[in-house]
Symmetry: C2
Subunit: 159 residues, 2 copies
DNA sequence: TATACAAATGTTATATTATAACATTGGGAA
DNA sequence: TTCCCAATGTTATAATATAACATTTGTATA
């Protein structure tokens, strides 16, 4: 499996998230942070209703039972800040792990393991350039790019 | 807009579809053909329920009113033969217009106009090679690639 | 021709994903 | 303090997709 200090990597991501939110005058409220933390807990993509279930498990006394709009609002916020990404081909969401500066844009490729659900995210350089050139060639103005690879990760191939 | 003989291009696609189906001992039944024709009618991606509605409009006397599974079964069939593709980022489906030989595989990039819904499909060469190389570099085995560009097409930019 | 099998289709119900619409709360700015 | 707006709570429902089982149809073969 992945050999990295996951706790450290989560903290780093959370710190960065706060910085990014501040720089855009966006409020990373406890609820939004909760969703981000849930996604950061693994490198896996989770469905909105999976997240909802976890939020309900984490629910403490006095809090009201979270409902779908709660999750979708948090997801929308985090997506806008590029702190998470959506796997369009499976309607799931994962925390972005690209090491990036505040305000830095990146075009990501997601490699999703259909066996364990793990997501590896890579920055697309060559592939992206190619796409934009191709788009230019027939006057298409790209707003958003989706690049997803579904398959089997290295660990799962060993089994 | 697109300047091609659309009727001819549809016929060509239908002929090819029959060839491909035959070569795989798959039956391109009237219902399946109907769905393919509906998608070929435009270069646009349609949702399953849009297709369902059109099927109902085209319904002739004595036929039973189509239901969702009817559409989804036809879509699944056509997807398996690579005669159509799904736009994962908007849950819609479009007829593949790549000129291909029977049995020829292709990795497609879809350029979807968010204004008019038009889909331009291009074969991904460089971009695809890049993806597979990247996947190899960390032992990921790709089964399926999704490449979608959302944006504004040339015609719509003029308006 | 009869039979039986599998593939395709019909039908009903429901699962899954996502959002609309409106009420309530809470934290600053004027 | 008052007002406003962003955030959250709440209820209902829209949009997308599939499960499960019944029926039909085509066709291979006894």
């Amino acid at each position: 499996m992945l050999s990295h200090d996951h706790k450290k990597c989560i903290n780093k991501s959370i710190n960065l998230a706060h910085k990014i939110a501040n720089s855009k005058a966006a409020k990373l409220t406890p609820q939004r942070l909760q969703v981000l933390r849930i996604l950061l807990a693994g490198h896996k993509a989770l469905g909105a209703y999976d997240i909802l279930e976890i939020m309900r498990e984490q629910q403490s006394e006095g809090q009201s039972r979270p409902q779908p709009p709660t999750v979708y609002r948090a997801l929308e916020f985090l997506l806008n800040l590029n702190l998470i990404h959506k796997v369009e081909s499976q309607n799931s969401y994962y925390a972005c792990m690209i090491e990036k500066d505040v305000n830095e844009q990146h075009l990501a490729q997601a490699f999703i393991c259909d066996n364990c659900g793990n997501v590896e995210e890579k920055i697309a350089e060559t592939g992206a350039r190619n796409l934009y050139e191709k788009a230019d060639s027939f006057g298409f103005k790209i707003e958003h790019v989706i690049m997803e690879c579904r398959g089997i990760c290295a660990s799962c191939q060993l089994v």
